[in-house]
Every structure is written in C-alpha cells, then in structure tokens.
C-alpha cells in the first residue's frame, strides 16, 4: 500500500506521521505538497496535525481550499482510506468529508497530555487490531478539539457506529458525547484529535497507536466496498 502524507503550509506533524509509517512500520510513504493536484498511484492518504495556515480564521478552514483537496475528496469517494489526525481531522470536517466541527476547547487553552480512550468500534479498517471496547491511552495536543454536531447528527453517528474513539475518563476539551474520533458512514475516512503517530515507539513512552497503522497496512486491499 502506498500512502501519501499531505504537507500543508503550517503542517508540522507531517514528520511524525511520515516517520511512524516509514521508520516504524516500514510502509511505502511519500510526502505530497498541498500544491499538487493529483494523488494518482496512492492507495491511501493521511492529513497530518499542525497549524495549517496558522489556524487563522478557524483550524483547517483555509487548508480546505488547497489544490490537493479535490484529489483527497476523490479518494474518499472511491472508498480508499483517508485518515486525519488533529489538524487533519479539523480539515476533514471543514471540507465536509466528516460531519460536525471542532470548537475551541472548553478550557480555552491548548492542552498537551496523554489521555485514556475507549476503542468504541474495532470493526473499521483502522481499528481492527484493537479489542472491542479496549482502553488505550494516546497523546493529545490541541486548542480546538471540542467536537460539536447537532443532536440528530450525533444520534446518527452512534447508530451507524461511526464513533470510533471516545475519551474514557476525563473529557479534556468539552467534546459532545466524549467523542475523540469518528468515521464517515462508509467507514473509510477516519478523523481523530488524539495522535496515534506519537505513540508508536516504546522509547517515547507508548506503542498504543501502532495498531492503528498496522490495522490499515495489514489489510491487503484496504478499499472499503460499498
């Protein structure tokens, strides 16, 4: 599987994603500039964390207009895996590939720490190596991570098992229904605020995020059938 990591102006966890895939998972991965228009030849695309366009206006709001985004949308429509963490998640909601929006944290502050999560759905292409309702701990690092959607949307997300990760003990940002990560209806687009790419090496304190990448990489054909 060949994976693209998109580099937006202001992306800064692009290295983290790339190295998790390249150095740790030995996957076939390449950086792709936001200026490119095509993702031909790639089987999956990942949007990294960071501060695209400085998070000016709203996190992810401006990145959605970059050249590469139509190609990302196309991949999502084709059922190929699309993954966004942190700023990547914010971009995926801004561009409409995932429902809802990410508000400023209730504390009004940036928060960087490791938080307990529950894997709510282990049937996705991203989570199949986790146990059902497994507890894991992943780092978060964001100022705008409070997930918001209207009640119907939230109900629909739960009915369709689109909620993949939930904050398990404390809610660090005010997310509705403790939501930390969701997929689209089809299950091939995952957005999450926590950073699994920061938890793939014991040296750095945790390997809890590793199985997310392995789930995807060991799928063979990752394409989700409709």
């Amino acid at each position: 599987m060949k994976i693209a990591v998109i580099v937006f102006p202001g992306s800064n966890c692009d290295v983290d994603l790339y190295e998790a895939l390249h150095s740790v998972c030995h996957a076939d991965v390449e950086y792709v500039s936001h200026k490119e228009k095509s993702l031909d030849g790639f089987d999956a695309v990942m949007l990294p964390g960071g501060f695209s366009y400085g998070d000016y206006l709203r996190a992810g709001a401006i990145a959605r207009f970059t050249n590469i985004m139509p190609a990302v949308i196309r991949m999502a429509k084709e059922g190929k895996p699309v993954f966004g963490t942190c700023n990547g998640f914010q971009i995926l909601t801004e561009v409409g590939l995932l429902p809802g929006a990410l508000k400023r944290n209730d504390s009004q502050k940036f928060v960087c720490k490791t938080v307990p999560l529950e894997v709510v759905n282990n049937q996705t292409i991203f989570t199949r190596q986790y146990k059902d309702h497994e507890r894991i701990a992943l780092p978060i690092a964001h100022a705008d991570g409070s997930y918001f959607a209207d009640e119907q949307t939230l109900d629909r997300l739960e009915e369709n098992h689109q909620v993949v990760f939930r904050y398990a003990e404390e809610n660090p940002n005010g997310s509705l229904r403790n939501i930390a990560g969701i997929t689209n209806e089809r299950g091939n687009v995952l957005g999450m605020m926590p950073h699994p790419e920061r938890a793939v090496e014991a040296l750095l304190g945790s390997t809890a995020g590793l199985r997310l990448f392995k789930s995807l990489l060991e799928t063979g054909s990752a394409k989700v059938e409709e």
């Binding site: 206006l57 709001a61 401006i62 429902p99 508000k103 400023r104």
Partner: protein, 82 residues
C-alpha cells in the same frame, strides 16, 4: 469601495464557555450589573464594486470561508461607501 462588517457568532444552541468565563471575570471585578456576555468575531472587509456586487461577494465569502455553518451563523452591516 464599500466597507462591510460581517459578524460571526456561535449558533444559539452551541455552548460558548468563553462568554461564561468573561462574565465570571466581570463579576469578580464587582460588576454584578452585567447579566450576560456573548462573544463573537467580526470581519471588516473592503470590497470594490456596485452595491449588488458587494453584497454578492460578502455572501459568497461568508458562505464559503468565513462561517462554519455547523456551529456558526452570521449577519452583516454595510458600514460606509465611497
């Protein structure tokens, strides 16, 4: 050139902790006469063109960029023309 002020706020249904925090701070200052605080942002945009063209532009940039309709809503006000 027309200057338009575009006001963006959270929708009524969206909880805004910032307003609450500021209200608390105001009360700490002793101003219990302040009963409610809501926070919003605004954009002063200077646009070139006829009145109609300006309004069209304002609506377009609000719809496409300035406002996230999942949680926000907006109004605008023409400030000055020349």
């Amino acid at each position: 050139m027309t200057k338009v002020r575009i006001f963006v706020t959270y929708k009524q249904s969206v909880f805004d902790p910032q307003g609450e925090t500021i209200k608390d701070a105001i009360h700490t200052l002793g101003h219990d006469d302040v009963k409610d605080v809501q926070v919003g942002k605004f954009f002063d945009v200077t646009v070139d063109g006829s009145k109609d063209a300006v309004e069209k532009t304002v609506k377009e940039i609000a719809d496409q960029l300035l406002v996230n309709f999942n949680m926000e809503t907006y109004t605008y006000q023409v400030m000055e023309e020349d």
